[in-house]
């Protein structure tokens, strides 16, 4: 399923990749970028978490030609604007109104219609702007863009630095939500998954699909999907073991026939107190205590309280 979404076989307009400090989701985001570049006219990338050059390294030249960077990383608060030669093109500032749609319109070539958008990542935007701002911006990008259409919008979101309701709100608006977790392994990325992905996908028909898949992204940002049922680590499901009958194949007989069982139940075992015997004992009146002093017993006939003057 994840592979279908990545390669565009299964349409999904807004994809949220939520990662954690235990497992970063940037490789998957880059794999999405590469796949999108092959399908659309232009891919616009908003960098808030890493330097544009860092993100762009690793892509081949054909892919790079289709990528357009918008730098919201190097001087997002205008702290260094005065000392550097101002090159406002493609720079984003949290201190100004951050209109992603206008940014794309200004940067795109005129004949490009199909556009994909990558946001790396939403976390700094959520910190500096409000949640409502981010929700509106995502909605705006998906539905109301004017002269171009956004085929797919893929956003990275760091799961463990926001409040739960913030993450839930963002996820709610997504058509596909990929929650990543690590896969402890030392095998090569070709043999065992790099990470695990919990996928919730809303189909156009309204059906919601939930899947748990393994994935790897290898050297040339190629995506590999793993069928969890074929992996040695997850193929540990125990086959129902046959219950062994210990009385089978013995040299002697441990089983009882019905007749034998009845005969066995009728026998009264020695030293067993029967109900009638028990009742006669109880009816026998007050009990008596017989005490036979031992030789070693120091038995005193005198009243021990004799000297008390009460």
């Amino acid at each position: 399923m994840l592979e279908d979404i990545l390669h565009g076989k299964e349409p999904s307009q807004l994809v949220i990749i939520s990662d954690s400090i235990r497992h970063f989701g940037r490789t998957l985001l880059k794999s999405f970028t590469k796949s999108l570049a092959a399908r659309v006219d232009e891919v616009h990338i908003f960098h808030f978490d890493t330097a544009p050059e860092v993100f762009l390294s690793g892509f081949d030249d054909t892919t790079k030609r289709k990528l357009h960077s918008h730098d919201g990383w190097s001087d997002s608060l205008m702290w260094t604007r005065n000392t550097k030669p101002s090159n406002a093109n493609g720079k984003l500032y949290f201190t100004e109104s951050l209109d992603l749609v206008t940014q794309i319109s200004n940067a795109k070539q005129e004949n490009s219609v199909k556009i994909a958008v990558i946001i790396d990542s939403l976390t700094p935007v959520l910190i500096h702007k409000y949640l409502s701002f981010v929700s509106k911006a995502l909605h705006h990008l998906c539905n109301d863009t004017g002269d171009f259409t956004v085929t797919q919008l893929v956003c990275l979101l760091h799961n463990d630095v926001h409040e739960e309701h913030t993450v839930d709100m963002i996820r709610h608006s997504a058509t596909s939500c990929l929650t990543l977790s690590p896969n402890a392994s030392i095998a090569s990325l070709y043999d065992e998954p790099y990470g695990m992905c919990n996928l919730v996908h809303k189909k156009l028909s309204g059906k919601v699909i939930t899947k748990y898949e393994g994935y790897s992204v290898v050297d040339d940002l190629r995506f590999i999907s793993f069928d969890l049922s074929k992996l040695p680590t997850t193929a540990m499901e125990e086959s129902p073991t046959e219950t062994i009958n210990p009385t089978e194949n013995l040299t002697f007989n441990l089983n009882l026939s019905a007749k034998e069982r009845q005969a066995k139940n009728n026998i009264v075992l020695p030293y067993t107190i029967q109900d009638a015997q028990k009742a006669s004992h109880l009816r026998g009146g007050a009990g008596q205590i017989f005490y036979q002093p031992d030789e070693a017993d120091d038995y005193d006939d005198e009243d021990p309280d004799d000297d008390l003057d009460i």
């Binding site: 490789t27 880059k30 890493t50 860092v54 990383w73 260094t80 290898v218 940002l221």
Partner: protein
């Protein structure tokens, strides 16, 4: 400089870490000894160091430096070391009431509308050359970020300040600077949140943990080393290692968990 630690971190003393953000955190123990390791590593290599101190005075670092074989006073005179005395700056803000504090780098303690930009500019002047660039290996060490939070500075301000330090020193592939900072992550929610935020941009995370069984004279704590790969240019699995350590008079010895003198 602890030679054993260099070996664990694959660091050659003549070539100190370049373009790296090294994040230290400690829990139920004191992890400041690693800070002194990095100060002496850079000073011995003849590189520039900028030390933003919020927790100790200069004489403290100088005394520890002398034990490790570096003279901080001399380095300061030669301009190899720039010491920003955050302790003094924060005290001035609390102690004096006049309004002439606008030049104080920590003015945002008093005025919540301002940011840590003055501190950033002070640091930038210390580490950058006249063109505003970092071209030679330089260490920026901040001891420690938890104090900024404790002084009442908002988490976002500290996060922004750190973001700009990362951009300046170790944000891109060509960067040659090195950023080292410490956060105490004992149970405090704000500290843990800041730590998680910074982990997304750090290259190396060293976490010092006290022993859960309590004091032991042969083991002072546990060090876990995580090699993070925030850029993920080539996909690879995250590496991590765990060691126990014992701090001695002039060096620290590291050993595999369970192989201390108390056990063997």
């Amino acid at each position: 400089m602890f030679t054993e630690l260099n070996a664990l971190l694959d660091c050659i003393p003549s070539r100190p870490p370049k373009g790296q953000f090294i994040l230290l955190s400690d829990n139920l123990t004191d992890g400041t000894f690693i800070l002194h390791h990095y100060i002496s590593l850079f000073l011995k290599g003849g590189h520039k160091v900028c030390l933003v101190s919020l927790s100790q005075s200069f004489s403290h670092y100088n005394a520890v430096g002398q034990k490790l074989g570096v003279n901080l006073s001399l380095a300061k005179e030669k301009n190899q070391l720039v010491f920003i005395d955050g302790l003094q700056c924060s005290l001035q803000l609390f102690a004096s009431s006049d309004d002439s504090m606008q030049n104080n780098p920590l003015v945002c303690i008093r005025d919540s509308k301002t940011t840590l930009q003055p501190l950033y500019e002070m640091v930038r002047n210390a580490v950058c050359n006249s063109d505003g660039k970092v071209e030679t290996p330089v260490l920026l060490l901040i001891d420690d970020l938890s104090i900024l939070l404790s002084l009442g500075i908002s988490l976002i301000s500290v996060y922004d300040f750190m973001h700009y330090c990362v951009v300046m020193l170790c944000g891109s592939i060509q960067s040659v600077g090195c950023l080292v900072t410490l956060i105490h992550s004992d149970k405090d929610e704000e500290n843990s949140l800041l730590l998680r935020h910074l982990l997304y941009s750090s290259h190396l995370h060293l976490h010092m943990n006290g022993l859960s069984s309590g004091f032991c004279k042969d083991v002072h704590g546990e060090l876990s080393i995580h090699w993070n790969d925030p850029w993920q240019i080539l996909p690879s699995r995250q590496r991590r290692k765990i060691y126990q350590y014992k701090i001695q008079d002039k060096h620290v010895s590291f050993f595999a968990p369970g192989t201390s003198a108390a056990v063997l």
